[in-house]
Point group: C2
Chain length 282, copies 2
């Protein structure tokens, strides 16, 4: 079975001079695949298009997105439940940071299909324990928000622990604000208001985060993007994590902080999880 | 002629699941090759070893460095003048930031030989004009100093201009301090003292920078690592850029800043350039 396409062709390798390898000069999107269909496709493509603009990617416009969709559907065909990762790089280039001229350049597109991760069902029904990572997110406004391939901070943070019962760690920025998990966005509920950290200095503007913010607006749930100190997370009424693959995990406790536990089936978390289930996007 | 070795074997491609591609989870070193010999080998290996420790790289100890050297010498054999780039990644891994367990992991080593860049001789003899980049370096203390593969800021900065007569741009950090060029480190001379920016929040601790600092100590040139505002660079007596390939380029002027020009053959710059020539390390 083909699980990887490189520029439309089944392949296990990429050019050793690809700028994705040399500089992390690229972007990625990770999809839940449900019954052969990559979920939230349009939202992912919207972010990908915006991210390509932020990085001045050449020749990556409408027609390429249609090509990407046909390749994704062909790769995911017959897959009941899985994960699709799409990587787009600026293509191959000589030595040096300078990108090839846009007109001569050709992006590399990589589509890879992975098995569904085997997280226990209890992560959804009973919530998860998370830890606080020591690795801080730097401030990189030129890169903040987009899902680029420069992910060493997440790798370092994720290497801080090895415990299958603790699936995620919270990352603070260099000023001590809580920004996100290593692979998830964070929401808290305080006094009936849904809050998620600002990602204009660092962090990823997740597709599931944007789905939740959009739903909150239509459902009349008061919501805001805000700076969140760790103390404000600790004293929140409800806390949850989200991404395109897991959907939503309620947070049960923050490890290492005595007495810190949260209502797992809080009203706002439950409402959003139910809507997500009904929408079948994760 | 073989110009690329992947794990010791001539190859043009790497595994599509390599963590160097997916996360920039790797390091690189760039060498001037002179008469078949990669210059400043020991200094490069010292930085590589330290960087591997910073990133918790598995299984990369003494014996691997000897292997790396034998592969480098074999690739560079007969090359009068060229550039060698060595990339070390954490190897292949599944989807997800979590690294494979160290004992089962195998780094990927890529050695690539490139032609010598055709910069005009005048860049050394008459100095270079540089610009000030709009792209700022973020603060990422967990990654600062090491030469890792997360290089999108440098790519964005280098894409700001396209003029072969302007070979470099200065990058400021998010607080407005001048840190380095996109591919070079920066030194200034003020009141007889040699200064280079601190790279503990961002920037690369370059091998040529460390050679120059070591030489300054032995030669009795007063030197210090310091925060440098753009105004302090503008009002400096001498300014130069360095890296392992170019050695030293005196800076002649900073474009866009009226009246900003520097003494190209200043005493300290000339002294260090002469020593570098005598040492034949670039």
């Amino acid at each position: 079975m083909t699980t990887t396409l490189v520029n439309g062709v089944p392949a296990n390798c990429i050019d050793v001079h690809d700028r994705g390898l040399h500089y992390g000069d690229g972007l990625f999107e990770t999809f839940a695949v449900i019954n052969g269909e990559p979920a939230l496709w349009d939202r992912h493509m919207q972010r990908l298009r915006l991210s390509c603009q932020r990085l001045n990617f050449p020749n990556f416009l409408g027609p390429d997105l249609a090509l990407l969709r046909s390749e994704a559907l062909s790769l995911c065909s017959g897959e009941t439940q899985g994960v699709l990762k799409i990587i787009i790089t600026r293509g191959s280039g000589g030595r040096g940071y300078r990108a090839p001229p846009p007109l001569s350049a050709q992006v590399t597109r990589i589509l890879a299909l992975y098995p569904w991760p085997d997280y226990p069902m209890a992560f959804w029904s009973e919530g998860v324990a998370v830890r606080v990572c020591a690795t801080r997110l730097g401030w990189n406004p030129a890169l903040a928000g987009i899902k680029h391939l420069n992910r060493l901070e997440q790798v370092l943070a994720r290497s801080e622990w090895d415990d299958a019962n603790v699936p995620e760690g919270l990352m603070l920025d260099i000023q001590g604000n809580v920004i996100e998990g290593t692979m998830t966005n964070l929401f808290v509920v305080r006094n009936g208001q849904l809050l998620t950290p600002d990602v204009s200095q660092c962090g990823v503007a997740g597709v599931m985060r944007s789905w939740i913010l959009a739903y909150a607006r239509t459902a009349g749930i008061p919501s805001a993007i805000a700076a969140l100190a760790l103390e404000e997370v600790i004293s929140a009424d409800e806390v949850f994590l989200c991404n395109s693959v897991i959907g939503i995990w309620p947070v049960r406790e923050i490890m290492g902080i005595p007495g810190c536990s949260f209502q797992v089936n809080g009203p706002i978390t439950s409402d959003i999880m139910a809507k997500l289930r009904d929408s079948a996007v994760s």
